[in-house]
């Protein structure tokens, strides 16, 4: 069995009386791209926020590389190697694209208050390394020529791509992409599809892709997990999940799904 990067064990979460997650189990192996889909309200975002440390579950455990991360601060989980992107652009608006990328290397760099303020050699060498790494990461996503632009000058789609690059640059053990396709035009969507495949083929990252655009998920992911009403209703390779009865029912309802399968 190859090592699991992420283990989610019997996770339960309720807001008030509403049970949002009801015994979720998930295991993501190193190098795997896992799709996480489900109708609205299935609990995808809650699960993601628990993994990131924003919410604390009432029951269950989350393990990153075997160590429990429940109760840790988001920044501390990030330093253990968890990266994520957001549904709305979270680029730092007061920075250029390049500076955003360098901020992405925060957990990989060590310059502290005095090394920085007194301009010690460490600051100089580390700044150069970070800049070179940031430029090559921007080149990888085809954004090198925008490096000196303010983040605010980028289009919506460009911001999305830079944000993904900023997350990948520190080579986290696991990356959560929260609906990267949301709000993208058809052209941009095709570009995102290409980019995700390129990341999969060349970077070998472990990735959880939360997405409503199903063809994106089916094209990129090795395994797909389907949530509905806080439970896992299917788990397997894209082809199997696509034809799973429970999944079709969750999306279309029982009646429609019967008609869909008859046709």
């Amino acid at each position: 069995m190859s090592a699991a990067v992420l283990n989610v064990i019997d996770l339960e979460m309720a807001f008030g009386g509403l049970k949002v997650l009801d015994g979720i189990n998930l295991e993501v192996k190193a190098g795997e791209i896992r799709g996480l889909i489900g109708p609205n309200g299935a609990g995808k975002t809650t699960l993601l926020n628990i993994i990131c440390g924003i919410h604390r579950p009432q029951k269950g455990d989350v393990r990153l590389n075997g160590a429990s991360i429940v109760g840790r601060k988001p920044s501390s989980i990030a330093r253990l190697g968890l990266g994520r992107t957001f549904q709305t652009s979270q680029l730092f608006q007061g920075m250029t694209v390049l500076e955003n990328m360098m901020a992405g290397l925060h957990r990989r760099s060590r310059t502290g208050l005095f090394a920085a303020g007194f301009d010690r050699p460490r600051r100089r060498s580390e700044e150069k390394e970070m800049e070179a790494a940031a430029m090559s990461a921007l080149a990888f996503v085809g954004m090198a020529d925008l490096a000196e632009r303010p983040a605010t000058a980028l289009s919506f789609g460009q911001q999305r791509v830079v944000e993904i690059a900023r997350t990948l640059i520190s080579e986290p053990a696991l990356v959560l992409l929260d609906e990267p396709a949301v709000g993208l035009s058809a052209n941009r969507l095709a570009e995102l599809d290409t980019l995700l495949r390129k990341i999969r083929d060349q970077k070998g990252v472990t990735l959880i892709l939360i997405e409503h655009v199903i063809h994106l998920v089916m094209g990129v992911c090795d395994q797909v997990t389907v949530l509905s009403s806080g439970r896992t209703i299917a788990d397997g390779p894209p082809a199997a999940v696509r034809n799973d009865r429970a999944v079709i029912e969750a999306y279309l309802g029982k009646e429609l799904s019967a008609r869909y399968q008859a046709s």
């Binding site: 988001p74 990266g83 957001f86 250029t96 901020a103 925060h106 700044e127 080149a139 090198a144």
Partner: protein, 337 residues
């Protein structure tokens, strides 16, 4: 490269500051020294408000704590200025770190209100803890002497302020163009995203509060020595408005802007000294005017219209004057295959 760039203008100002005492009378030297003190205050406040994005109103209190501690350690405990001054700065730093603790839980207006309350409480302590602080009347500090050096006190203090201002200016400029400065801006521009990149909010907010406390405390110690006198009214709400005006006029998120803002506001204050009562009105109008029409302050106008005023949040590249097409394409080729 850029003859009127930031670097050249600042070097010219520094040269002027070095030779100024040769031409200035006592009053001019006092005003120049006051500007140096306020540059320290403005830089510290700008790191906290402009870079780290913490809308705090405790800087005047920190300034007062530096001044009171430096003065009282001399008067009450008989310490020398040279020991009391750094101790005062460190005490202000410690207080800055302490008030950063609620700052982690509060933001925006709530942080502004709680730090304002802290400032008022400090003011109350200065006024009413008479057995220690001498109350509303204030107290005189012992005369400062630069003994082995053959210079009188105003001149010695001026150059001491200039050296400290220069050192702390350079420190701040290096700091903001580094990993730490980017972490501050990350906290300002998006706390959730900053955390997701591993930036510890508590650590960097505390750091920003501590730094601004240190700068304000240092300024307070120098200020007490300039006046040879410490009293509560120097550290009231108007003091806070003054400092905010400096960073708003100079430019939030700009170390150079802090220098320009402090200089301009102090000169304006002196120009208006003859018209008491007008000062508050002019500063109020100035603040509103800049907030409405010139959000980024002077430094953003200079950045837009004059070459060489950029203040990147990373190591400046002396070899590459302008962002030309980047030479670092080599690793990309491998990636594109």
């Amino acid at each position: 490269m850029a003859p009127f760039g930031r670097r050249n203008v600042l070097l010219a100002l520094l040269a002027a500051a070095i030779v100024l005492p040769a031409f200035a009378n006592v009053y001019h030297l006092f005003i120049a020294n006051l500007i140096l003190v306020y540059v320290l205050l403005a830089i510290g406040l700008n790191i906290l408000v402009g870079y780290a994005g913490q809308l705090a109103f405790a800087n005047a209190a920190m300034f007062g704590i530096g001044a009171y501690a430096t003065g009282l350690l001399q008067v009450r405990l008989g310490w020398s200025f040279w020991l009391a001054f750094p101790s005062g700065a460190l005490l202000a730093t410690a207080v800055g770190l302490a008030i950063s603790l609620p700052a982690l839980r509060l933001s925006g207006l709530y942080l502004a209100l709680s730090t304002l309350a802290f400032a008022q409480a400090t003011q109350w302590v200065f006024l009413h803890w008479e057995s220690v602080t001498f109350g509303a009347g204030g107290f005189k500090t012992p005369p400062l002497s630069f003994a082995p050096l053959p210079i009188d006190k105003p001149l010695g203090l001026y150059y001491l302020s200039l050296v400290l201002m220069l050192a702390l200016f350079l420190f701040a400029q290096n700091l903001v163009a580094s990993r730490v400065g980017r972490a501050f801006v990350a906290v300002r521009d998006g706390e959730v995203a900053a955390q997701s990149l591993g930036v510890d909010l508590l650590r960097y907010k505390a750091l920003a509060f501590g730094i601004s406390g240190f700068y304000a405390g240092t300024a307070g110690g120098l200020y007490s020595a300039m006046l040879n006198f410490v009293a509560p009214e120097g550290f009231d709400l108007f003091q806070m408005v003054l400092q905010k005006a400096m960073i708003v006029v100079g430019g939030l998120g700009s170390i150079t802007g802090s220098v320009l803002g402090a200089g301009l506001i102090i000169l304006l204050l002196e120009a208006l000294r003859a018209f008491k009562g007008l000062q508050e009105i002019v500063f109020g109008a100035l603040l509103v005017g800049f907030v409405l029409f010139m959000r980024g302050g002077l430094s953003s106008v200079l950045k837009r219209h004059v070459r060489g005023w950029e203040e990147p949040l990373r190591l400046p590249q002396p070899s590459a004057p302008m962002p030309a097409p980047r030479p670092i394409e080599a690793p990309a080729v491998r990636g594109e295959q």
